[in-house]
Amino acid sequence: MSHVTPKSKPISEKRVDLSVRIGKLQLKNPILTASGTFGYGDEYAHVVDLSVLGAVVTKTVTVKPRPGNAPTRVAETASGMLNSIGLENVGLERFRSEKLPRLAKLKATVIASIGGETPEELETLLGALGNEPGVGAFEVNFSCPNVAAGGARFWADPARLERTLVGLRRLTDRPLIAKLSPDVTDIRETARACERGGADAVTAVNTFVGLALDLDRMRSKLGKATGGLSGPAIKPLALARCWEASGAIGIPVVGSGGIVSGRDALEFIAVGATAVQVGTATFVEPEAATRVLAEMRTWLAQHGHAKLSSLIGAVQAPAAQEPAKPHA
């Protein structure tokens, strides 16, 4: 990895241009909320001004409403949390009729997350939402670890991903972002499949499959055996996968996994992410996303970076991965 930041004099925060672009969607800054950790946006609207965020990624919506998994759904682990929500959501109908209008009123840039057990379900969703004026882009959740059908493992197959995206591509002119599971042997392959299928970006990564045991009751702490691990514990893993994915494809990567601070966000951007998502941090601190944004802006100003986008992939070249002085 090579050092490319120029040592510059601090500049005013106002001079920092944070805008980034994902496909045709221009974002005022790269800080997004992560799907499933910000509800449908309005839950936090009394404490967070949604219009200052790059975008709000909504909870994954499915064709039919889903009640979600039986308790227990969350468990804390060392610097992380496991969840097994099971895609509880209000379903396509209420999402369109109730949730989108409220988000429009709040002047949020909306990225709608959609999830399906089959390519057909995703097509139904995109067929219905693909031209909604209130939606700036779509994130396709190919990576939920907590559903019996259509979860991360089902979508780990590059050929299936590619085929499905080809089908979806025809249904909307908005950017399509494919959200990938980290639990694959080589994320470059799933990322490349998404690019070939016509995705405008990929999100790396969703949660990692994990398990925590309640030893006294000799069963999982969750209602299902496994859940998805998120939070600071996974940051180094997510960062590695984001770096690998961004080195393998030409379309933008959206980073996700353990981002809690402006520095965390910048680490993802430096390894190649065009935007990042704040997830679990919001459960700890509802205003996390706007704080991350403010911290990022301050760091850039202090380090004299007038343009965030010039930092994207600053640390990227896989060739520079080897140590400077090789030795037997």
């Binding site: 839950e43 009640p67 209420r94």
Partner: protein
Amino acid sequence: MATTTRTWRQVSARVRTQREYGAGFRWLELEMPAGFAAPVAGQFVQLLLDPPSPVLLPRPMSVASVSKKGTKLVVGFLYAPVGTGTQAIARLEPGSTIGVTGPLGQGYPLDEPGTPVLVAGGRGVAPLLMAADVLAKSRRRCEFVFGARTASLLVGLAEARERLAKRGSKLHLATDDGTRGFKGNVVQMLDRLAPKLAGPLVIYSCGPHGMLAAVARWAMANGARAHLAMESVMACGTGVCRGCPLPRSAEARDRVLATGADAAPLQGNPEWAMCCTDGPVFEARELDWDRVE
């Protein structure tokens, strides 16, 4: 039922006092900054240790008292240091700070008609003493049933006795082993007590889930209403993560399905209620007690 007007904030509060409270419990008082709405009995907050914290998530804690000291709102908590997070809270010295998100959830509907019967198990006593105070202010005396396995677990008994006496309410003690008061559990106590009270009864209860389920069943069998303060493992505490489900009763399920968004403004899940926003206080008929863990 959940309301869409959200008043909670995340603030930094100052530890005013902290002390042993007996039976392994501690009493914590926080001074809240301006802008923090006064919680009502049955509501809770999320306590977040300042960084660097040994735990990631905030810890839900029922509000045990609310008072004004000068212009300052002071909120009290009665808690047990059971694990890493609460043990770290226990080490906070007066003057140190802690993050508080709240007030959260639905408190007790203390204006329901009927004879109020408050049923406390163990540390559940605290929010109910707070409820007794509120009832007293609207000149309603209550019957206060306080139960525990054994006398030494009747936490804060002296204080309860004093505060209830002042308000003209009546304290009924029950211990499983008979070391104090009635020998038996709070439901057996309710059986004994009910015939002497003017109906309808409206029960407010807080305690272990096993006790709450028994109280809920008693209420449904005896035509009383009962409002029970539940707990669940939580992440956000604000309805967003969908991490704290409690099983709805068939009745509640049908009602959610029939009335849709109106009956459940937040998300309208017919299967599961969220402890943090639909509760933590639930009327007995809202939950499926066979499936409550």
